[in-house]
Symmetry: C2
Subunit: 514 residues, 2 copies
């Protein structure tokens, strides 16, 4: 860090910036909402669906792979039935945990076991902040969110589309996004698993950054996962060509697929949560199994994104009791198969970072964290059912993540912390503010909030009477003013620039999403 | 219900009013944050404190009771040392659960086991709402909150001082409050355990309401607990005369004492949470034991209200990771002694019902509910560190309580809810909106929110762009407009009026708090 940067950091001193990057673990037994017998019943229902109803796979190579693996395939209908023995054999080949590498190895992410990795939103159409309101996302917004993701160590990885760069031509968005991602952060990186051509570009750019240890060839030179993305299921029971192209390309290269059915109970599945989970489980198992057909041992995550529709409006509902059940029981199912589990995040339908935004977010994050979710995307800033990312909510939610870091550490119970001598010394009716025991721990003992206001009413009012969103507004602007990019070898930067320039010429006017 | 009332109720139709009064239970194993060995270590540390440091009891009768029970008493110092054998023997006499009776027996409250009882705030100095801002509480405000507590079936009991009636002379406040409480609600009732004279009035008024089954005599005619209150400890290690007068009077009459140390770690105890909990446990056990000296088998609740101070401002901090640990481990300690457990609530230091108010509340309610807290006071509306009660936050928090009711019911997994036939019938790529299975459950399957806004951004904006607090404002006013008092025998009402009138004359100018 140069002297100017050091000076800046001293000046800012937000407790948010003092939190070191580290692996987060939940040391307690997972919260469970279904009995082992109920989990078995869901499991058997899923196998029944896979054997008797089957799943659409709208991609010729995927159908070939299934046929070779021994599944019953109807090529004309692009439909596959999966025998329970085949599915379970394939699923058992997936690793229970793995390390997702960052370009800065100190920021590698452990996925699995009782670890928890938080990440920013992905795929958001609009950005919103208190001054400028809601508008279509731009590269400028995306870069700001990448910088915030880099600075907030409560986040373990960065993501494409923290907001969509809507002014950039669709065919070259992935190139510019990923270049910005590698330049502005050194954390593990998501980039879109959209078909074969985009993923091939992503792998080529990852190869430039990760050098000899790159993974794009799939020839055995690779040394592990460096890039990943969500593979969504078009629920009910359908994988489309775009997602299958991404799944096959990433899995073949040993990269990370987050297999995630997106089910709104009552719309994409029967209305009952039991049915939604049985269907989610069937869909997820099919996708996980396919990654293992492509490459046994490929890193893969069992994802869930099941919630309910609002039956009044037909809109998705987030942060609901139904969503909490699905999160918790989804984790139980993933554990049954010894698979890492993905859930989300700071979900809400609120349009503004108000009390609703906060309570719906807590109703997602609490079950997520307590259920042993391993990878939590959209952990900050998500709003309006996933259409919008809010700068202020990014900071508001980061406070909750920081609290979970502290909370999950638990507290020590030993002679020193029991401090029976101090209790005796101070005695009845005394006070502990000034004791040596308190003074020695004054500034380190408690979680240090960066957003909470604990002033008295009159002082708070005199200071402007700002609510949490207004305070968050000041904080994200202050953070951005102090951003310093992580070091990147100029040769790598130049190679990325060259690659992007060449591919932009090649892809001009091409539709990668047809 | 008369015709006019029926018409009104039809018109309102808030889902909040459709929730029936019922016992709430947490069917899952409790969340635990300490190992059995750690709990034992805290237990032993508490016994060490009771034996070697001791506790102040600033009341002559309490000292007499302790001396008769066999404790070591220093009358001059008003100090008592409690032998571990004596404490544990007394604590074992307290009932593990009991029923707290309401004047409407359909609203009796079960305290203990895995049941959860929610109640409104108590002891708040100010009221706040969006139109009128923050002001000292009045009887008018208190009555409004009593009405809301009566209407919201997510609350199991009502309370004195939902906001202090600051315009009423202190010496007669308890009389007017309790008369209003018995008139405006038929739920189980708290009234101040402040010394001997106030509690005697409370018992006399309860006798009027509960008739032959009253409890004021302590002569064996009583048929259980009908009134209760918090007995706060003046931490560290001191019970004052006011609280001891209340404890002795209520316990002798078989009424409910919520023994609750209020500890801010770093101020009223050493700064470490382990020490705070060891001290809390010592204080709580001493109070529980005293109730059993007074009357073996008296209903009593082990309470915890331990959190940390904000070391920057010296103010209490609520909704913190430290507070969550204390809540969870406090519940583990109460279970070790087979005692019902009290925790709180919708705690926050926010001055306005914003995101902070919501996240701090969730950081208290989630650990409370998951840890098997049996009685949760201050479950709605608490703000500003307990100084203020907010009409809007009352409704915002009621939404969370209603969500917990739904969440803790879990969901059924059986042939009907798995709906494998519907999954087969709709098949890949179809939709489930219109199926008979969905349509039959359309309006009943999901938790029905009364405050969440799930409209699209443009519709929300067109409808005024209201945040959660603004919507809550409309809702509490609508509820109050439709309030109907529960039936009360006119003879009882008259007897209460007579009692209050007589006692107001007797107490005029008297200081009950000297």
């Amino acid at each position: 860090m140069n002297r100017r940067a050091a000076r800046r950091q001293r000046r800012t001193e937000s407790p948010l910036l003092k939190i070191p990057f580290r692996t987060l673990r939940n040391p307690w037994p997972p919260l469970e909402a279904a009995s082992p017998e109920q989990i078995e019943r869901l499991h058997l229902a899923s196998l029944h669906i896979l054997e008797n109803v089957g799943i659409d796979f709208l991609d010729p190579e995927a159908l070939d792979l299934w046929a070779k693996a021994g599944a019953k395939v109807d090529r004309a209908a692009q439909h596959v039935w999966l025998d329970r023995g085949l599915v379970m054999e394939l699923v058992s080949k997936a690793p229970p945990s793995f390390t997702w590498r960052a370009r800065n190895s100190e920021r590698d992410v452990i996925i699995g076991g009782n670890s928890i990795a938080f990440g920013p939103p992905g795929g958001m159409a609009y950005a919103i902040d208190l001054e400028n309101g809601r508008r279509p996302g731009t590269m400028e917004d995306h870069e700001k969110f990448l910088k915030l993701s880099q600075m907030c160590n409560v986040l373990h990885f960065a993501s494409w589309g923290q907001v969509e760069t809507q002014e950039v031509p669709v065919s070259v968005r992935h190139l510019r996004r990923l270049r910005a991602g590698f330049a502005l952060t050194d954390k593990a990186m998501m980039e879109a698993a959209h078909g074969r051509e985009i993923t091939a570009d992503n792998l080529a750019m990852a190869e430039i950054v990760f050098g000899d240890s790159s993974t794009s060839s799939g020839q055995g030179r690779d040394c592990g996962p460096v890039i990943g993305d969500v593979i969504n299921v078009n629920s009910p029971l359908r994988y489309d060509a775009r997602m299958l192209g991404g799944l096959i390309t990433y899995a073949r290269a040993g990269q990370v697929c987050f297999i995630t059915p997106f089910i709104l109970a009552g719309a994409m599945s029967p209305i009952t949560v039991a049915a939604a989970l049985a269907q989610q489980n069937a869909e997820a198992l099919a996708g996980v199994a396919l990654t293992q057909v492509v490459r046994p041992g490929a890193p893969v995550i069992y994802g869930g994104f099941t919630t309910n529709v609002d039956m009044k409006s037909g809109s998705p509902a987030f942060g609901t009791p139904e969503g909490a059940w699905a999160l918790i029981v989804g984790a139980q199912l993933a554990r049954r198969y010894k698979l890492p589990y993905r859930g989300s995040g700071s979900l809400t339908t609120a349009k503004t970072p108000d009390a609703q935004a906060a309570w719906e977010t807590q109703w997602t994050l609490w079950p997520c964290v307590l259920a042993h979710t391993n990878l939590i995307m959209h952990a900050v800033g998500w709003m309006e059912g996933g259409l919008t990312v809010s700068f202020e909510k990014f900071i508001i939610d980061a406070e909750t993540l920081a609290m979970f870091y502290h909370f999950l550490e638990g507290f020590k119970i030993d002679e020193e912390t029991l401090a029976l001598d101090m209790i005796a010394e101070v005695g009845p009716g005394g006070h502990h503010f000034g004791t040596s025991h308190t003074q020695a721990r004054y500034s380190t003992e408690f979680y240090e909030s960066f957003l909470t206001d604990r002033q008295g009413y009159e002082s708070w009012l005199a200071a402007g009477g700002h609510d949490a969103a207004q305070r968050a507004n000041a904080l994200w602007k202050d953070l951005l003013a102090h951003y310093e990019p992580p070091p990147l070898d100029p040769a790598i930067k130049e190679a990325l620039d060259d690659y992007v320039a060449r591919r932009e010429r090649e892809l001009e006017g091409k539709n990668l999403y047809e």
